[in-house]
Amino acid sequence: MKENGQKVIEADHLVKIYRRGSEEIAAVNDISLSVKVGEFVSFVGPSGSGKTTLINILGCLDNPSSGKLVLAGRTVVDHGEALSEATLTKIRREIFGYIFQKFYLIPTLTVIENVMLPFTFYKKPGAENDVERILKLMGIDHRKDHLPGQISGGEMQRVAIARALVNRPRIILADEPTGNLDTRRSQEIGDLLKGLNQKEGLTIILVTHNPALAKRADRIIELRDGKIYAPVHA
């Protein structure tokens, strides 16, 4: 899948401006980039450099102030005008799996129930057949009937990743997925993401402050003050 160099994300002159009183902050300041199918891209940069803002825009979770965004050939934002919220919801569940720093597991649902929670709202045909495999892949199959309170932080994040995977996303968006984990657990998560990228051919967009984790990517993009500072090719 990697050899097919089709672009899955094409961003063109994206700008995001926040107003704080009379002050205007360009959190994302004219960023153009593209991501190919099956690529693993890391975003790094100092705090406040706009990483989160950028990948939220890429993931259709936020609208840019101006610019154009094309996802899998479909124009999602043009001249800062986004599609309707309902259409965006469809695109989001079709294309993305999101992983965040916090895990947001529902404490009264078991591991397996949390993993399958997305099916309550939407299920790609046949997706339920992957669940067992994903649990195994994440190394949490022996924990599936436990409640989140009964497992470790690393396991919780793996549950959250499994949950992001069950609907067969094409792109995984991970914003500091190891922010709450120690070095060992972070490394495990890094291995998992790398594995997903290599074995499953998933496109991965990762934001991290952890240099070791960032290095797992094919490409590292450094942001400073909302601009691409130095695209470093690994």
Partner: protein, 396 residues
């Protein structure tokens, strides 16, 4: 596959105390609602039964004619005036009338009665309508007449004592020299019926030779009818006088409607309080879970999905509260009744708090409506949460 209902339920389990307290709040409201409405219904039907027990609330007699056996006797059995029998049909045609019954009173002096003789009063009644109208009359022995023309008598409790008759005994109507058979003896009622000897109307007319004539017509007026107005209408009939219980009934009905207004206001307040409680609980849980709701949306939940989820949570709270409240109300109905009896200046006989299936269904309807209504705003608010808010709030 895990269903949205299950997720809603599991969400409620996360804050057991809060969910529990909200359910208790709704249960109390439901309890008040069921008890009050049950009381309202019970009170009204007991009252109606008491009023029904009067038999008829109005008697039309010929002008100047005594309408009670007692008065008749005081007047020495004289002063009887008659009305034509067809007046009954005429009255029955009035829209306010529920039922009518024709009566013919006759009195005979019996020199052997008591020390210096006395009058025996015979009331001819229509076997087709009178027993129905006075359905509360109970028999100590026997039953009503076998035939509208039968030479049979039913004796009031005191009349039976005085005449010393049992069912099956003969009773001689002195002066007319007719012998009738006692077929029934009534239980004590505490009314003038106790001293009356009832005979079929036709038989009295025949025995006393007053064909096609009546001394009185008993009228049962419809509950919703305006008694005062109807009374005036009756006075327009030629040469009649009207004896009515309209004042009494009117007063009671006013009392009832005042009680009703009070009951409904209390129920309304209880409902309002529980609505506010439910909105508060759900809104709080929505606010606490903004981030999580954002995550659900990033998973593919639509605004409508979230709306449904939160609405279901509200409904679960309300339905469980409603069930507990209804059960509580049924369990404490007797207690409520005792309490109410102590509070009320006038309480009719019979069950004061009546809880039946339709009342329970009504309460459930109200409770579900509470849930639906109070869930709207929080659910709508939750549905509008943007997935971004989840991610953003972790920056802080």
């Amino acid at each position: 596959m895990i269903k949205i209902l299950n997720v809603a339920y599991k969400n409620l389990l996360r804050k057991k105390t809060r969910s529990g307290l909200t359910i208790i709040g709704i249960a109390l409201a439901a309890w008040v609602l069921v008890s009050l409405l049950g009381f309202n219904k019970g009170y009204e039907s007991s009252l109606n039964r008491d009023i029904d027990n009067l038999g008829f609330q109005m008697i039309v007699t010929a002008k100047g004619c005594p309408y009670e056996a007692a008065t008749l006797m005081l007047k020495g059995g004289t002063g009887l005036r008659y009305m034509p029998q067809n007046i009954t049909e005429q009255i029955a045609r009035e829209p306010e009338v529920e039922a009518v019954t024709s009566m013919l009173m006759q009195a005979v002096f019996d020199p052997n009665k008591g020390e210096s003789g006395g009058y025996s009063a015979y009331l001819g009644v229509d076997p087709a309508t009178f027993p129905q109208m006075k359905s509360f009359l109970e028999f100590k022995q026997g039953k009503w007449f076998t035939d509208p023309d039968a030479l049979e008598a039913v004796l009031g409790y005191e009349a039976a004592e005085l005449e010393q008759r049992e069912v099956g005994d003969p009773l001689l109507i002195i002066e007319k020299n007719v012998e009738v058979k006692v077929v029934g003896i009534l239980k004590r009622t505490g009314t003038q019926d106790d001293g009356t000897i009832f005979l079929p109307l036709n038989s009295v007319q025949k025995i006393f030779g007053v064909k096609d004539e009546l001394t009185g017509v008993g009228i049962k007026v419809k509950k919703e009818a305006d008694m005062v107005q109807f009374e005036e209408k009756m006075y327009k009939l030629p040469d009649v006088q009207v004896v009515s219980l309209s004042q009494v009934k009117q007063t009671i009905m006013t009392l009832v409607s005042t009680a009703k207004v009070m009951v409904f206001s209390i129920a309304l307040i209880a409902i309002l309080i529980s609505v506010v409680g439910v909105i508060n609980t759900i809104l709080m849980s929505v606010m606490e879970r903004l981030q999580e709701i954002g995550i659900l949306k990033s998973m593919g939940a639509t605004a409508w999905d979230i709306f449904k989820l939160i609405w279901l949570e509200t409904l679960i709270l309300c339905i469980s509260g409603g069930m507990i409240g209804a059960a509580l109300a049924m369990a404490t109905a007797k207690l409520t009744e005792v309490l109410i009896r102590q509070l009320l200046p006038y309480a009719p006989s019979g069950g004061l708090v009546q809880i039946n299936l339709s009342l329970i269904i009504l309460t459930f309807g109200v409770v579900i409506l509470i849930g639906l209504l109070s869930g709207v705003y929080p659910s709508w608010k939750a549905g509008r949460v943007r997935p971004l808010e989840a991610i953003r709030s972790q920056v802080e």
